[in-house]
Symmetry: C2
Subunit: 265 residues, 2 copies
DNA sequence: CGTATGGTTGACCCCGCTCAATTGGTGTGG
DNA sequence: CCACACCAATTGAGCGGGGTCAACCATACG
């Protein structure tokens, strides 16, 4: 039984509730920067935002209720456990970590969220965020007021079904970690999952630099940090990958996929 | 690392896809049996079905798209992994177990569903059920065509938000098992969860008879069946509970809650 | 009865956690 | 530029919770 003794890393004492107030936010439609298009095409709401040509008024309304948040610096929180839920957010840039802390102050990492992925959906249930969300590096977000989004979903079938699909996908994603698997399988599944998600966003599937510490990886995989070190060392000896600090190079994707397949299917 | 060698229990060779075809179904409104009211009051859709007095036409439509399924006998499947998703179902009576089988044929139990709870929501994601659902005893269901329900949710804000809440709740439920906890904590959390769910449906919070086998409990908790036996024996020695085969009597709810609190919070 | 199925018990062992020491990279002040 | 501190990461030694394997027991059913 491993339990981390580390408190959540907190570089900034300031507790700015970024999804609650309106500091550093700008409405979507008044900044016509060029990378908005490239971002939106990989965002989880792309099909709702872009592919709804048949309902241009709805599209305009969706873009109206989007607000840009950030940039947040590493260690700043997006939201905290127990805060009233009122918005979800799509990661626009950077990486967000979600976690809970139990009664003893032990941190338990729930997930890492890359650009295009949506955080906060688990807060719908009882109107409060059930976990914390913290920036691991410089993070920018698209904030969506959930009440307004639900209202708009009444008029836009595509948006409603997209929300249903996102929620349903998170159920299955949460179940992945629940299985009991070896340290090797967990690590391989973690790396393959990252690889696929980076690749889907146009980055290299083989080479990437992690934004999270070893302790975060270990905590997420329910392993001791020491085990993560040893597994990575063995993977390197077996020429499955090359790793230098946080730079990873997946040398043998097929064998990693093979290892991960028990979990990722 | 424990992996079950047991194939999914299958007492009936027949593979009747119960949520797909219309055998043994009757529309809700043509059977005015008295227990419909008592069931519906504890069903997950009760707030949508009953409390929507302000929208009687919507209520009537919701009842129109409900169809009763069953009774299914123990071992009969409600749906199977990979089948096209087209409906969710509320358990009306009995217990449903959901599970997946990996490449090696090992079963992995995902959850148990009591009367009033909803199965199939994780199939929305990619239009196929990602797991199997099997009856553990005699099961009756309320089947809801999901496309029709989504359509109705466009007109009924209460139904839409109820669906959002159900989906969001399942995300958090799935995350519970993911933590690494001792065998004692897992078992206590399992029993307390059942206790609460029975109590919420008007049954005793202390005494109940399980419908699932030890192997199912073990598999669900990611423990070996032998470990389940040993933990229960120790719990009994410590006078936390009394157990005779599948009859449980929770003698010391406070201490069990205490043990479970790390997981259930 | 005999047989099948599910549950229990005991002996043993291994994966991964714990504890502790060491390394190395990064930042800061002299 | 070096010295020192600090923290993340690594490495080693030891051990314990829980899995494995096997035998045994109990209830259900033909």
């Amino acid at each position: 039984m491993y339990s981390s003794n580390h408190r959540p890393s907190e570089r900034r004492p300031m507790n700015v509730v970024q999804l609650q107030d309106r500091h550093e936010m700008r409405p979507e439609h008044d900044d016509g920067d060029g990378d908005a298009v490239t971002f939106c095409s990989t965002c989880a709401f792309s099909s709702a935002c872009l592919a709804e040509g048949y309902d241009k008024s709805g599209l305009a309304e969706l873009h109206c209720l989007v607000a840009h948040v950030g940039p947040l610096q590493a260690g700043e929180h997006v939201f905290r456990e127990g805060e009233p839920f009122n918005a979800i957010a799509a990661v626009r840039g950077g990486t967000v970590k979600t976690y809970i802390t139990d009664r003893d102050g032990n941190e338990q990492v729930l997930g890492f969220f890359l650009p295009g992925e949506v955080i906060g959906l688990n807060g719908i249930h009882d109107g409060r965020y059930p976990c914390n969300a913290v920036a691991l590096d410089t993070v920018t977000l698209c904030r969506f007021s959930f009440p307004m989004m639900a209202l708009l979903a009444q008029k836009m079938p595509g948006l409603q079904s997209q929300l249903f699909r996102l929620l349903s996908a998170d159920i299955n994603k949460a179940a992945l970690l629940a299985g009991d698997h070896t340290a090797d399988e967990r690590m391989a599944a973690f790396l393959i999952s990252l690889s696929r998600r980076y690749a889907a966003r146009g980055f290299s599937a083989r080479r990437f630099t992690l934004t999270m510490a070893r302790t975060d990886i270990a905590n997420y995989l329910r392993l001791a940090p020491e085990t993560v070190s040893r597994v990575l060392k063995r993977f390197q000896a077996d020429e499955l990958l090359a790793v230098d600090r946080r730079d990873f190079n997946l040398l043998d994707l097929p064998r990693l996929e093979q290892l991960a397949s028990v979990i990722l299917r």
